[in-house]
Symmetry: C2
Subunit: 437 residues, 2 copies
């Protein structure tokens, strides 16, 4: 008998690695926050003695979702301005509201709301881009969720920093503060090609190599962005980034709705990661990311919700469904993005993009136990022929009952264990009353 | 003081009629199953004395969803075959499974599962097309949900009928049986242009006029359908239907992903109703229905989930979100389908298509009290700036807490009042075990 901390007996386990596998009546042993083994339930109790045993009789256990692109604190602007195109939405609604309201307290309260929403929906890791990333990091660490906080850089002053240099300086200080943090890591987050000049981008290129930090950036979000770049630089943004030597395996290029065939080839050759945000792209009528073509050429495609101001939720399960459905239509091929591939995009591919796939993203021995249990016993998910199909095409995030990050249970029977939900909701309503006036 | 049966005090009421209105702190008085008045809560208790009072402090009360196209009993095939194109899915999976399993018991158990799922998700009326419609009608009536059952006609034998004439004969008998039923009505349901010959279609045309029955039909679902019709008849299916004089205000043309500009004009002129099923169309890669163009030209566009074998849920709230998001992308215009219009499509437009808009579809005096309460107090729907935006873009169907049809409460604090959920689930699992073998 081997001693472990936790033994989980599940009706199904969908580990994502290896591909297309679903284990039925299997168990997982966890010690020191990491997965020790996945084995048939019949032999698990003979082999392991656990401090704690969890029974998931009607559930499928999956890797926690990795939300590869969000602006967590913007949850306080959820539904503030809808049914508008990107530049109108940004120029006349979001940027003015941010100018007026964003500060450390806003980011703390908005991030807490977002983290609570994400955890309850099965998300165990998020990749953020926003002002006051030190507060984002603090909220994430306190909640116990895994996070990659963006060291934001933008050519406009904000309450967080005045110049590109100050953004960079503050970002590097935060990176240094988080150096030994296993749960909260950092990524450079230059906002977009149209909002960051060559100078800061060159510095980011050098520093990301030296310090081994990913680069998280909105790229080719809209046709307008590409047209404007052609007018200003006589170059498509991707070409400009290529000239700046930024097309590397460290780049997470978010949105990518405007891609020429040759550009897809370049991304594949350079091992650039693409982060697909289908609901935000649909809602802002930004265009379609050619997910099927990217996958076919071997590009790593992860999934993100974008911020709740443009989505309007942080529901990775729903995002995964939208991605799976939309890719088929865009490719004009119902086989284009099968359920298992969609689950992989929402989990392991996000971990890969963040350089965290040795720690998380699939249920494999030695990885951290970052995972979610989804209860399939209800009306909307019965009968069950294939549990993964059920999660991708029929389940809602409300069917997530339990969530663990690094073996610590952060959601237990649908209740948050590290966050005060009532206090978070009260603050959200207070912000609404202030913003609405 | 006026006596009423029920007085509901709601934080918000979104009546759909008039357009774009949300009442805050309003109440609804209900007598004999019908809405008497909607008025400010402050004056409601002075004016009405009620047998029962319901407080919806954190909720928005909306008309119940009208699922304008489904095959309810197919819920037993949910997830049986995914990630396949329409004709492969039909020919090699669904039709063989139907041939083997469909009978009266299958339809009863599958419809009960579907009705339970729909009610809990806020759907108060569904328009069905399937074999054994008499059983569909019986299950709906027992549950108390409003339904339009399809008098199916198809040129292929099934366990329900052998010839087009027998289908028609059995359908007319069912129509006659339901003549005085206010809750369960009928529609002719010729399966599709490619599965029903001119003869039966001509009879349906005559009978639908004589008996005032809508005609519910799959039309222009895929490019393949149109190409095959061109090869067989040298006509696009819509042209053939026009020649058969079937383009009338009674027609509910479902899917309509293949439309020429002139065809949209013809539909508008003839006041044909279109039923949009975005998730099914995406999943089967059937194409995009040009919703924005149809609405712009004044066509009545309703929403349906299609059957759970191709969706894979009967979630009208989710379908409404997908419709709102997708229309923007297809129209390349973020203003193309605003939240309030999406809610109207999911409710009133369905009632209009079914010829039931004098009874249901909006919260207006004299209409039946068919409605759903959605709780917006949770993490994923806070803060609230616009309750309708919140429902369309952020809420999940699990936030539906209470549902009424004709003033009778069928879901109370998330529990079904007329159906035995445990028994329904048990039967679904038994069917799964039989079908899976």
């Amino acid at each position: 008998m081997l001693n472990v901390d936790t033994l989980i007996h599940a009706r199904w386990i969908a580990p994502v690695e290896p591909d297309n596998v679903v284990h039925e009546h299997h168990s997982m042993a966890i010690r020191d926050g990491r997965i020790v083994e996945i084995l048939p339930t019949a032999s698990a109790s003979e082999r392991y003695r656990a401090n704690e045993t969890v029974n998931l009789d009607h559930h499928v256990l999956i890797p926690g979702f990795i939300n590869a692109h969000t602006h967590a604190a913007m949850s306080l602007f959820r539904g503030l301005a809808d049914d508008l195109p990107l530049m109108d939405w940004l120029n006349h609604h979001i940027w003015p509201a941010e100018g007026k309201w964003v500060g450390a307290e806003f980011v703390q309260d908005g991030t807490a709301l977002a983290v609570a929403e994400m955890l309850k929906g099965g998300t165990t890791c998020f990749n953020d881009m926003y002002f006051f990333p030190d507060d984002t990091a603090r909220v994430a660490a306190e909640a116990g969720i895994r996070a990659s906080v963006g060291l934001i850089i933008i050519d406009f002053p904000s309450a967080w920093a005045q110049t590109a240099d100050e953004y960079l300086h503050k970002g590097l200080k935060l990176h240094d503060d988080l150096r030994n943090n296993d749960l909260v890591t950092t990524a450079f987050a230059p906002h977009a090609p149209y909002t960051v000049a060559d100078g800061p981008l060159e510095k980011i290129r050098t520093l990301s190599d030296e310090l081994d930090i990913p680069v998280h950036m909105h790229v080719h979000e809209t046709e307008h962005e590409v047209e404007e770049a052609m007018a200003r630089h006589s170059k498509r943004p991707l070409e400009r980034l290529a000239n700046l030597d930024l097309l590397t395996p460290r780049l997470m290029a978010v949105h990518m709705t405007q891609l020429l065939v040759g550009e897809i080839d370049s991304l594949a050759q350079a091992n650039v990661n693409v982060v697909h945000c289908p609901e935000s792209n649909l809602k802002l009528a930004s265009g379609y990311c050619p997910v099927h073509e990217l996958l076919r050429k071997g590009v790593n495609v992860a999934l993100g919700t974008d911020g709740a101001a443009s989505n309007n939720d942080l529901d990775m399960l729903g995002e995964m469904r939208t991605a799976a459905l939309l890719a088929k239509a865009v490719a004009r091929d119902a086989t284009a993005l099968p359920a298992h591939t969609a689950l992989r995009m929402a989990t392991l591919n996000g971990a890969k993009a963040l350089g965290l796939d040795a720690r998380t993203g699939s249920l494999a021995p030695n990885k951290y136990a970052d995972m979610a249990a989804v209860d399939l016993s209800g009306l909307g998910t019965q009968p069950v022929y294939d549990p993964v199909s059920q999660i991708v095409y029929a389940a809602g995030r409300n069917l997530v009952t339990d969530v663990w990050v690094a073996g610590k249970q952060l959601v237990k029977n649908r209740q948050l264990t590290t966050l005060d939900e009532a206090a978070i909701l009260k603050k959200a309503q207070t912000w609404r009353d202030r913003i609405r006036q």
